[in-house]
């Protein structure tokens, strides 16, 4: 493993559970990754279990929340995903496995596919292609912009602000169409290969118009008291175990893009967006400013990607046909990692650490002490996708 090493104890920040292991900033251990500081169950006069989901308005995907409440305020919560899927990848070639991996969660398809391919390349000891790495950054940042636009649209929708909601959804659709124009598929399906990205980045600069339009909406939202009121002080989370925008909203500079040198982010140069209040508003701010920051990266990439108008047909050379690889990327909602074992050129096993599996725990910590009307804003601010939580790779 090029990027990671096995250790007896964790070092650096803890990312989360990956299969039976525990993933840290630079090491992976066989430690238990479970929470040790779990708050006791609350039983008070007048409390009862309130069920929200799995099939309820306001939830995009099937997840059931058992909320312990005495009316309005939330004392305790337990989330149960209702989308458990066993996906078989063992014994498949990396190409066949990738077809399944990139479909685990379409909105994060690039993150999943790239992390998986980086792990495969690590396991097979394939020398990375610089141009392919740059293109992968482009895909990840396009995905980040699209996701953040969508998350902010969900937040404005929860506040019944229809004009910004539909405007943001329109911009999301424009991003989808731009991705479709660049890569032939709106969700990057069939685009990623080992050391290869089949996209034409000639028109990547069009992102500027979209982000310009977004900035106007973003500034408007920052002046809307009714919107800000719903987010400020809602779902405060200061947790060193948090990841992605949730961690950065609490002032933590957690970002896989700068922690590891898997992708050449450092060469492009960008700054980590952080907030201080650690609440839903902080998470909204981080996402909003990350859209702008990502657009700057993309513009930078228009100069760096040399064969932007040509689909690369370059092959790859594998020195190993057996080995293990672990790679982590910064998906729109935080760290996403794959740990794979390759045997005889085929995938022997794969383990996934999805950002949503970490974020849902963070969400459940942050929701305690809030009230029902805070719930939707807090939930949407984490940008959780249930589809990737219930995945069991076999």
């Amino acid at each position: 493993m090029k990027y990671y090493r096995w250790a007896d104890k964790g070092e650096g920040r803890k990312i989360g559970k990956i299969g039976n292991y525990c993933l840290y900033e630079r090491v992976v251990t066989e430690e238990s990754c479970e929470e040790t500081n779990v708050s006791p169950k609350v039983e008070r006069y007048g409390t009862f279990k309130f069920v929200y989901g799995p099939s309820a308005g306001g939830l995009l995907e099937s997840v059931k929340f058992d909320i312990t409440t005495d009316g309005e305020r939330i004392f305790d919560i337990n989330g149960v995903p209702y989308k458990i899927r066993k996906i078989k990848v063992a014994g498949l070639s990396w190409e066949d496995a990738l077809l399944r991996i990139e479909r685990i969660n379409a909105p994060f398809s690039a993150s999943h596919a790239i992390a998986f391919l980086l792990a495969i390349e690590d396991a097979m000891n394939i020398e990375p292609d610089y141009q392919a790495q740059l293109k992968r950054i482009a895909l990840l940042e396009l995905e980040r912009i699209r996701n953040h636009l969508f998350v902010i649209a969900r937040l404005t929708e929860a506040a019944s602000l229809s004009v910004p909601t539909y405007h943001l959804l329109y911009l999301t659709e424009r991003i989808n169409r731009l991705i479709g124009k660049l890569c032939g598929h709106r969700y990057f399906f069939g685009v990623n290969y080992i050391n290869r990205v089949d996209c034409n980045f000639e028109k990547l600069f069009e992102i500027l118009d979209i982000v310009k339009e977004f900035r106007a909406i973003f500034e408007g939202l920052l002046e809307s008291r009714i919107f800000i009121d719903r987010l400020q002080g809602n779902g405060v989370l200061r947790d060193k175990d948090s990841i992605g925008p949730a961690a950065r909203a609490a002032g933590l500079d957690y970002d896989a893009r700068l922690e590891l040198n898997i992708l050449p982010y450092k060469e492009i140069g960008f700054k980590i967006v952080k907030a201080e209040d650690a609440d839903a508003f902080g998470r909204f701010l981080v996402r909003g400013y990350e859209i702008i920051e990502s657009s700057k990266i993309l513009i930078e990439l228009t100069d760096l990607i040399k064969d932007g108008n040509n689909t690369s047909t370059k092959g790859y050379e594998a020195t190993n046909h057996e080995g293990e690889g672990l790679a982590r990327v910064e998906s729109p909602s935080g760290d996403l990692a794959y740990y794979v074992k390759v045997k005889e050129g085929k995938v022997a096993s794969a383990q996934l650490l999805s950002p949503s599996s970490v974020n849902i725990k963070s969400f459940m910590k942050s929701v305690k002490g809030t009230i029902f009307t805070d719930f939707q804003f807090n939930w949407e601010s984490f940008g959780i996708w249930i589809s990737e939580i219930g995945v069991i790779l076999e």
Binding site: G46, V51, G53, D70, G71, I226, G233, V236
Partner: protein, 586 residues
């Protein structure tokens, strides 16, 4: 005592109760019936007769209920009958000494009963302390009145001091603000057995109303400021009584706070009565007087029934009550709670309407700065009525409607309750026409034969309602619907719960918790640690900022106008209220 023969029968039940409690209750029923019939026959135009009618109806119903209900040992029944004896003496008294004697006979057994039956020290001591504080004020008032008039008989009073002192004494008994803050009445009434609570809440507090009205009628010179103060205190009692009722968890505590709310509403009209009496506006004086009477009827009869409904429950914690779906019980509860919520055509609906109408007409007629006070009082009462409705919806939901635990209860427990419910409905369409002097007809709308109850000044109608036509409309449309569509088809399905089988129960505590949390600064709950969120406190935050930063206000206002902030909406409502007040004044 002018009518000793009406009191004498009430000496029998305490003796009979010691021998056999059921016989005791039966004898109270008969004595009350006797008192009712003979008072109506002999003294139909006396003020006391109206209060006797209210009290005896309550005693008849409560005593029938007690026959089955009372399993509290040997002492409840005798003490219960002595309390009633005391109230009868008050109602039949013709001088201060008799009144005071009745007052003590009524009060002492009440705290003995609470102490003996619950075997707790605090509730009876609280009751005793407040009961005797009330007596002290009454004693002072009556001594001054007797010295001033050289007689102990009820005669005209020129000094307002006896009225002021007596009103404070009576207000203590009614649990009105600021005495409500100590929550003595809910503690005492909530601790007593239901039949006793019923008598305490319905008829003991009624004596406070009777006392104020009686002394106010005798007083020729009432300070305007005092009457306004009384109305204002009444309005705040309505608001806080209903607010506390809504967040209370004890079924009897809810009803006790509701008693404070109703007594507050009656006090508003009593204050208005004193105010217009002093100004010599006779039409509003009459309207306020009958509002007090109608409200007293509505409250006492309904409250008696509601305490009986609480008595049918095993648990006093509303979150642990069993939902009883007995037909009589449900029907009774629906009628009682709808009347107490101020819904027409029930008596409570007429009373609530008259209370607010009188305030509005007075503010309209006065056309001065004092009008603002009446508008403010009306607004506070209306807010309180809203909470009262919520409190009663919560009460009926968790005692009966929400689910079904039991389908049958003893008829002796449910029938008196149903009868009290039917009475508030029937009296709603009968009593205003019998008592209230201002009626008219509106042939163009088909309202004939003085069926329209009106508020008026200088022969000009200000507002009108017709409970009779509400009954006719509801029954006609229901009948037509039934005849056209037949019996409604009911399809019972399992409750949809997000697609899962969990069938959890939303607790009564949870139902009112939103208000508990939002108004925690008013309710003085120590819950701040659970709610650190900025959003909940936005209203208070803005009020704070508003008072602190008038300079910044102008700059922020532009943005606030287009921001749809809830806090600003609240401010708009307040501004609108002030503007309306000013328009009326100008």
């Amino acid at each position: 005592m002018t009518s000793m023969y009406l009191v004498l029968p009430f000496l029998i039940p305490p003796v009979l109760s010691i021998l056999n409690r059921k016989l005791g209750y039966l004898s109270i029923t008969l004595a009350s019936l006797y008192l009712l019939i003979f008072s109506l026959y002999e003294y139909p135009y006396e003020l006391s007769t109206l209060f006797i009618a209210i009290s005896s109806i309550v005693w008849i119903l409560t005593s029938i209920f007690s026959i089955k209900y009372d399993d509290y040992g040997n002492w409840l029944s005798p003490l219960y009958s002595v309390i009633i004896l005391g109230i009868t003496i008050i109602l039949e008294s013709s001088n201060y000494i008799e009144f005071l004697a009745g007052w003590e006979i009524m009060t002492i057994p009440a705290y003995v009963a609470i102490g003996l039956i619950r075997k707790e020290y605090r509730p009876p001591y609280i009751f005793m302390a407040f009961g005797e504080l009330s007596t002290a004020f009454l004693l002072a008032s009556f001594i001054i009145a007797s010295v001033n008039t050289n007689t102990t008989s009820f005669t005209q009073l020129t000094s307002p001091l006896p009225l002021i002192l007596a009103t404070i004494g009576f207000m203590i008994k009614m649990g009105i603000l600021p005495f409500m803050v100590s929550e003595w009445l809910p503690i005492a009434h909530g601790t007593a057995p239901s039949n006793l609570s019923s008598v305490l809440s319905s008829t003991m507090t009624l004596m406070g109303i009777y006392g104020i009205l009686k002394i106010a009628e005798l007083t020729t010179d009432i300070p305007v400021a005092f009457s306004l103060f009384i109305s204002a205190i009444g309005a705040f009692s309505v608001f806080f009584g209903s607010l506390y009722a809504y967040v209370n968890e004890n079924t009897k505590g809810i009803l006790a706070f509701s008693t404070i709310e109703n007594n507050g509403a009656i006090l508003v009209s009593l204050g208005l009565f004193m105010f217009v009496k002093q100004l010599g506006i006779s039409s509003i004086e009459n309207m306020a007087f009958y509002t007090v009477i109608i409200y007293a009827f509505a409250h006492s009869i309904a409250k008696a029934g509601l305490f009986m409904s609480a008595g049918a429950q095993e648990s006093q914690a509303i979150s642990h009550t069993k939902k009883l779906r007995d037909l009589y019980y449900v029907l009774g509860l629906i009628l009682l709670t709808s009347s107490m919520s101020g819904l027409l055509p029930n008596l409570g609906g007429v009373a609530s309407w008259l209370t607010l109408e009188n305030l509005l007409i007075t503010s309209y007629i006065l056309h001065s700065l004092i009008s603002v006070i009446f508008i403010a009082i009306g607004a506070i009462v209306a807010m309180g009525e809203g909470f009262a409705t919520a409190a009663l919806v919560r009460y009926i939901t968790y005692l009966s409607l929400f689910r079904v635990d039991y389908k049958k209860i003893d008829k002796l427990l449910s029938i008196p309750m149903l009868v009290s419910g039917i009475l508030v409905l029937v009296l709603g369409t009968v009593l205003p026409y019998l008592l209230y002097p201002y009626k008219t007809s509106m042939p163009q709308l088909g309202m004939l034969g003085d069926s329209l109850i009106v508020t008026e000044y200088d022969d000009a109608v200000f507002g009108a309602i017709s409970p009779l036509y509400v009954v006719l409309f509801i029954s006609t449309f229901s009948l037509v619907t039934y005849l056209v569509f037949g019996k409604p088809k009911i399809r019972r399905v399992k409750i949809w719960n997000n697609g899962v089988n969990d069938q959890e129960e939303y607790t009564a505590f949870a139902m009112s918790n939103n208000v508990r949390l939002m108004l925690r600064k008013i309710l003085r709950t120590d819950e701040n640690k659970y709610l650190p969120t900025y959003g909940i406190d936005i209203f208070w935050e803005y009020i704070y900022k508003f008072s602190r930063g008038a300079m910044e206000f102008g700059g922020k206002f532009g943005r606030a106008l287009i921001n749809s902030s809830v806090s600003w909406y609240v401010l708009y409502i307040i501004i609108a209220l002030i503007i309306i007040s000013l328009i009326i004044v100008i």
